[in-house]
Symmetry: none
Subunit: 262 residues, 2 copies
DNA sequence: CACGCTTTTGCATATATTTGCACGTTTCTT
DNA sequence: AAGAAACGTGCAAATATATGCAAAAGCGTG
């Protein structure tokens, strides 16, 4: 690979991803870290990018073509949201939980996606409004500000009238012993109720949620059908999930569901 | 994640959310609190934000793009919203319709206002979330994008379990002969249902809605208890309203309700 | 093709930065 | 006033960086 070609590639990565990690690119191109660092140093001297410890960033934040709102999410949640969105098949009826990870799922839907999405989060409902082919059904209740979801008896009751294919659930704790857990009792009830209304429940969990037990248990791990994880989740943990009977989905791969009917 | 990238992220959070809690961000990014605190300290030293105990705030309050939308509203709707908000008494349970005028009502609530607000609009629910003392109850249903309100049988059914003091209703047509009307049949049903669940129904109508008949009738004028109008509405029209038995409220005046029990 | 020259690349070493933790202090809450 | 939470500082381990150097590859000239 030519040096100049490589430099152009670096700038392209920067524009496309909004950031660049020297070590990762070096590994990707099969070169030493030093070489990439040298390139970055030179590009920075030429004013083409801003050199930072560990890699580089666009000279001005605005220069990334990323949707500003998308980039506000930590890369990990964005990755999980994208993977989860990819699991939704045309014309399915899915329930989408509240929370930032679920929000990333919404942001990663395709404009031409045709589905019915049920949610008990007004924030998610508002975020869904730009997608013309998606029918949005809201479940009411008492608004719980902390997570911006509706909770309470009314929510559980309203959910009982729904039958969905998949429930995409966010939790704050995923642990083999403690199961799936969250920080609020009412929220746990609602998540459980929603899970019962869907043929499959798929958990979305970024790394900081793993092997953590929150105060209120939603359900044991085995009750879920699958889990979406970050690509770089440790293999032992992925294995644990599989041993609990869950399908494991990570970004990048071709995620064909097997073992469960969608 | 790169250090500088994280700092940009912190600033972005601050701009978008108007505040930042160190601990919450640390958990979200899977880093120690110390690291975030260090970042905030450095950003504060660089004058990029204001450090406060527990997190950070934008350097100048104006820098949050929060209230940006408030100023977009036409003066007339803002005026009507303010007048309507002033009619809400402490601890009342009120139903708030969807739409831009209702949004102005929300924006004009006081931070220390203590009420229960019922709404079938996810947009309104989200807008209400910054008011700590307001209990928000959402009525679910199928999202009708055009007005960002939930409609359909589920909405009407859920409404039937509510008893409120006042319903603040938006309509697209107010006419003595045609009554109160709107542009969508389902929306009309919902408005009617909500009206029946409140002791009083107060209509919010900016000048362009007056003496206009929209396709679907919500109810005759006399069924409403009051109407909020712009200050400079023609006196004959105000008189017509009074003759139909409605209390007329306009901005600036001391709006004491009389003739109807709140 | 041989030769010297330049460029590029990877390595070794020394230096700098980042990060999490421990500990004592300050600030908030009740 | 007491307890909890957040804070700053110093420190050590991990990581990233700059620099000098040498090997390898590319280049032009004769």
């Amino acid at each position: 690979m030519l040096t100049q070609e490589r430099k152009r590639y670096l700038l392209q990565v920067l524009k496309q991803q909004g950031k660049l990690e020297a070590k990762a690119v070096a590994a990707e191109l099969g070169l030493s870290d030093d070489t990439i660092r040298r390139d970055l140093r030179e590009l920075a001297a030429a004013g083409m990018l801003q050199r930072v410890h560990g890699g580089a960033l666009p000279k001005s934040p605005a220069e990334a073509d990323l949707d500003a709102r998308k980039s506000i999410a930590s890369g990990s949640k964005q990755e999980i949201g994208k993977t989860a969105a990819g699991l939704i098949k045309p014309d399915q009826v899915v329930i989408v939980d509240g929370g930032t990870t679920a929000m990333q799922l919404v942001k990663n839907l395709r404009q031409d996606q045709k589905n019915t999405i049920v949610t008990h989060s007004p924030t998610i409902a508002v975020a869904l409004s730009p997608y013309p082919l998606i029918t949005v059904i809201m479940i009411g209740g008492t608004l719980f500000r902390h997570s911006m979801v509706n909770i309470g008896a009314a929510t559980v009751e309203a959910a009982s009238h729904i039958h969905a294919d998949t429930f995409f659930m966010g939790v704050t704790g995923v642990d083999v012993k403690a199961g799936l857990s969250t920080g609020d009792l009412e929220e746990a009830y609602v998540k459980r109720a929603l899970s019962l209304r869907a043929a499959d429940t798929i958990v979305m969990a970024s790394s900081e949620k793993l092997q953590v037990a929150s105060p209120y248990v939603v359900m044991p791990l085995e009750k879920a059908s699958g889990i979406v994880l970050e690509k770089n989740t440790s293999s032992p943990f992925k294995k644990l999930m599989k041993q609990s009977g869950l399908d494991v989905f990570v970004g990048g791969k071709n995620n064909e569901r097997k073992g469960h009917v969608l």
